[in-house]
Symmetry: C2
Subunit: 155 residues, 2 copies
DNA sequence: TGAGGTTATGCAATAATATAACAGTGCCAA
DNA sequence: TTGGCACTGTTATATTATTGCATAACCTCA
């Protein structure tokens, strides 16, 4: 346990607390634990990784608990699911709802979340051109991040 | 079985045959069966749906057979995987490699494949801005298609 | 305050998706 | 004709996710 916990986790939790209060939804103890597990990892974590983390504290936790919490956190925009990896990451900008995109490095496992207006625009226009009304989008690029590309070429 | 088989299936199979021959790869009987199952459905099908279809003919087929064939067909660009649905669809334009995007209707289950240059551009630019080198992309919009939206509003 | 609705959790089982590992088979080319 | 490679068979199992039902916590409004 206790991998490299990004320092921002506590701040993120407080922000989530505020946000949920403002929205009149309940950030319960379970949900907070799951959010901490996701944000604390600093990289994508699978549902069963989260489960294992919870079980360190509460040995009897079962999968539905985790999935329910994740569903809530996703609805609140506090956590995103990466369909490419079957894994979850904390949201970089939870305060306002937004379409986001992900750059997933297969070398180092880092994931960058971006919120690119040009992408959102082009998606919206393409959808409109087909008369399609999107409710949700998945945009994930898999490849090599700048750092890893540099390491590969630089030697 | 024998759902609404789009008439184009046989044509798609012949096209796939030609393509594979040209590329010097083998479209074996298994692979052809899987491709037929995917294209014949006319909508996204799960790996285990395909398995069931194959078993109508060959009762002893096992999951790895299906997944191996799907992997091949995806590499050849004959089939796409929809990460949002854990399901597979025949490619609309198998002849040339291309980045494609999908519009998935939650009402009727139809999936439209598009190949929008503006989307591809914006993705490429965003990646470049981060120094990211994409090898593969997943772009899937979930929502309501034109037909279903019309039916909903039109009454 | 407490009756009744709604939301959240506990718990057991199982569904659905996907891969590992290893053995065998067939094809093709040197 | 044999050696290598790609493909397939087979068994088992890993991984991800959901269903269904029972219980508990919370909220509100009379």
């Amino acid at each position: 346990m206790s991998a490299a916990e990004p320092a921002g986790v506590e701040r993120e939790l407080r922000q989530a607390e505020t946000l949920c209060q403002r929205r009149g939804v309940r950030l319960t103890a379970q949900r907070r634990r799951v959010l901490r597990a996701v944000c604390g990892a600093g990289r994508p974590v699978g549902a069963y990784d989260i489960l294992a983390a919870l079980r360190a504290e509460l040995p009897r936790v079962a999968p539905p608990t985790v999935y329910r919490a994740l569903e809530f956190l996703q609805r609140q925009g506090l956590v995103h699911k990466l369909q490419t990896l079957h894994a979850y990451v904390g949201c970089a900008h939870p305060d306002h709802p937004h379409a986001s995109q992900f750059l997933i490095c297969t070398d180092c496992g880092e994931v960058e979340e971006i919120a690119d207006a040009a992408i959102a625009d082009s998606l919206g226009q393409a959808a409109a051109a087909s008369g399609f009304r999107p409710t949700h989008g998945v945009v994930e690029l898999t490849g090599t991040c700048a750092d890893c590309a540099a390491h590969r070429n630089g030697r």
